[in-house]
Symmetry: C2
Subunit: 349 residues, 2 copies
């Protein structure tokens, strides 16, 4: 039992590693005392927690591009936080910062990796979305790898999500024909009507393959991949000569043992044929992890993107979940495609 | 029967499409009259015919990046030829030209696609090898896609072939550690001792995978792919983060139904896992067909490569077969890995 007199830090830890889709039992809410700030530190109060698909990878012990979260450790995640106490030059109580504090109310920091956000920023949560990691992912993958030119056809997986929504709108601004793919009629409607994609198709439709072919009469020049699975299978035969496929994620496979190839179910190996298509159609297929590019290109991204967001040329959807205790269920739902936009947990106001 | 008085053009036509590896019965040697030159044409006498793996693709009806050779048509191929008669301004009898006349003694041309080679060029056959399509393929794929930096590890498939030999030597000149892969001890010895690769491994060795891992203690940064099959399978787990894989050919699959995926034999589908590796390791896998890049970059290539060849920094092997009638057998042998270097048919002197 914790004394009610001691300020509490609620935190959500990895209770066990999921096998397949995560369940609530893989998470545990703990209450511990708020950590005591030392010299050269700041104490941060989480305001917003970002929930993102990559976190599924961190829950597994399989090798990936980042270390897994240890069982019993706090789940990782990007956050917007307020400085509560400061023992660190350059930070004052009340400053709003972009941080990486994970799924908890309070965290200590020595300042490394913290970015102070502009005072009075109207939507600080955007630092976790369109002006943060998802937006930067969209911008880098589309412009630095996909590089669409006017008149080309760009297909965007997970088109209503925080990456896909920005990819499609940027591609429209570059003069491309943009076809989104999303799960469900309502998502597709919003992508068409509110984000201005030329069209958006529901991958759950039984005739999805035929619909996609009809929507891309000139083939596909850029496929922005974040999903994998059956959407990729349907896209592949439609790729044009010199098509580019930036790969920023494969959410359809995060629960299916993809990375260790345990659960492959196709009867035959399509890898040699895929290499043949890469050759014959001169495809460029390139993976990227946006963390690699912050020092080199984040400033250029912000310079490009901020005016587009401010004047409304790039629109964003946010799905806000209230309360840290609801993060696990929201995260599980996101992996099932239930969110309608950038998923954020409002941890404190 | 052709009259002995009429000059004959021997030509090798596609008699039938191969199923699997080509056999001599897929080719037919025909004798027809030498074609009569019209106004605005030149009559060319073939001196050298280049034999290259891509020709296997042209023998199939399956869709590829170029039209198939029709059954009954002359097999296509790059040639060095002498102008016998000229009705075309700018061409004089005796000029030596780079042309694309195919497997025959004589051809007509309206001049399109012809390049006059410098008079007195010591080795005009090099225009079909190190200074032609294979050399350009090596240069483009290595420098424009692979882009190795000093200290990186470059692995080169088909290292003794006309592309691989140039790839490895260029990579050495750029300061990379270069590991060749070839079929057989003698090829490997020549690649090591005569071309100066750091090492060269025989992919037929039972412990080839272990040998390659030992030869690449820091992993692989660039894999120059022209082979596919088991070499690729062994390379894949050794690719480093940010590795580049230029793909210019897949000779191991040309006879196995790769392109229509008929003959896949693996029990499980490795494509999703491959996409996962592309993401996690930020791989860039890119196919290219050198014909796409002549107008843009051939001059730059020649400017770079000619001095390297002339002063011996880039060495080349040539395998010369005497007589057009021996082209089919030489071609079949090349697909089995029997040639030791750039395969050329000496059609006339």
């Amino acid at each position: 039992m914790n004394s009610p007199d001691i300020p509490q830090n609620r935190r959500i830890v990895l209770a066990s590693r999921p096998s397949g889709a995560p369940t609530p039992s893989n998470f545990r809410l703990e209450c511990v005392p708020v950590p005591k700030m030392g010299a050269g530190q700041v104490l941060l109060r989480t305001l917003w927690l970002s929930l993102d698909p990559y976190m599924r990878g961190r829950m597994s012990a399989a090798p990936s591009y980042a270390l897994p979260v240890a069982v019993g450790d706090v789940m990782v995640g990007g956050t917007v936080a307020r400085v509560e106490q400061s023992g660190l030059e350059g930070f004052s109580p009340g400053d709003i910062v972009l941080s990486y504090d994970g799924w908890q109310d309070y965290a200590l920091s020595d300042g490394s990796g913290l970015t102070i956000l502009p005072a009075g920023m109207s939507h600080p949560s955007r630092a976790l979305g369109v002006l943060g990691m998802p937006g930067f992912t969209a911008w880098y993958g589309l412009l630095k790898i996909g590089a669409p030119i006017a008149g080309e056809t760009v297909v965007v997986a997970a088109a209503s999500g925080p990456v896909g929504a920005v990819v499609g709108q940027l591609a429209k601004l570059h003069g491309a024909t943009v076809v989104g793919v999303a799960g469900g009629a309502e998502k597709c409607r919003r992508v068409r009507e509110e984000l201005g994609f030329d069209t958006c198709l529901d991958h759950r439709a039984p005739d999805f393959a035929a619909q996609l072919a009809a929507a891309c009469p000139k083939g596909i020049d850029v496929y922005f991949e974040s999903v994998g699975g059956k959407v990729f299978d349907v896209v592949l035969p439609l790729l044009n000569t010199f098509a580019r496929v930036p790969v920023c994620g494969l959410i359809a496979h995060y629960n299916d043992g993809l990375y260790d190839n345990k659960d492959a179910v196709q009867a035959s190996d399509r890898l040699p044929a895929f290499m043949g298509q890469i050759l014959i159609r001169r495809l460029r297929v390139q993976g990227f992890i946006i963390m690699d590019h912050y020092s080199e290109l984040y400033a250029e991204f912000l310079h490009d993107m901020q005016p587009l967001v401010e004047d409304g040329r790039i629109r964003v959807f946010e799905d806000v979940v209230d309360g840290l205790e609801n993060a696990p269920q929201a995260f599980i739902g996101m992996l099932e495609g239930k969110n309608q936009g950038k998923l954020l947990v409002k941890v404190s106001s």
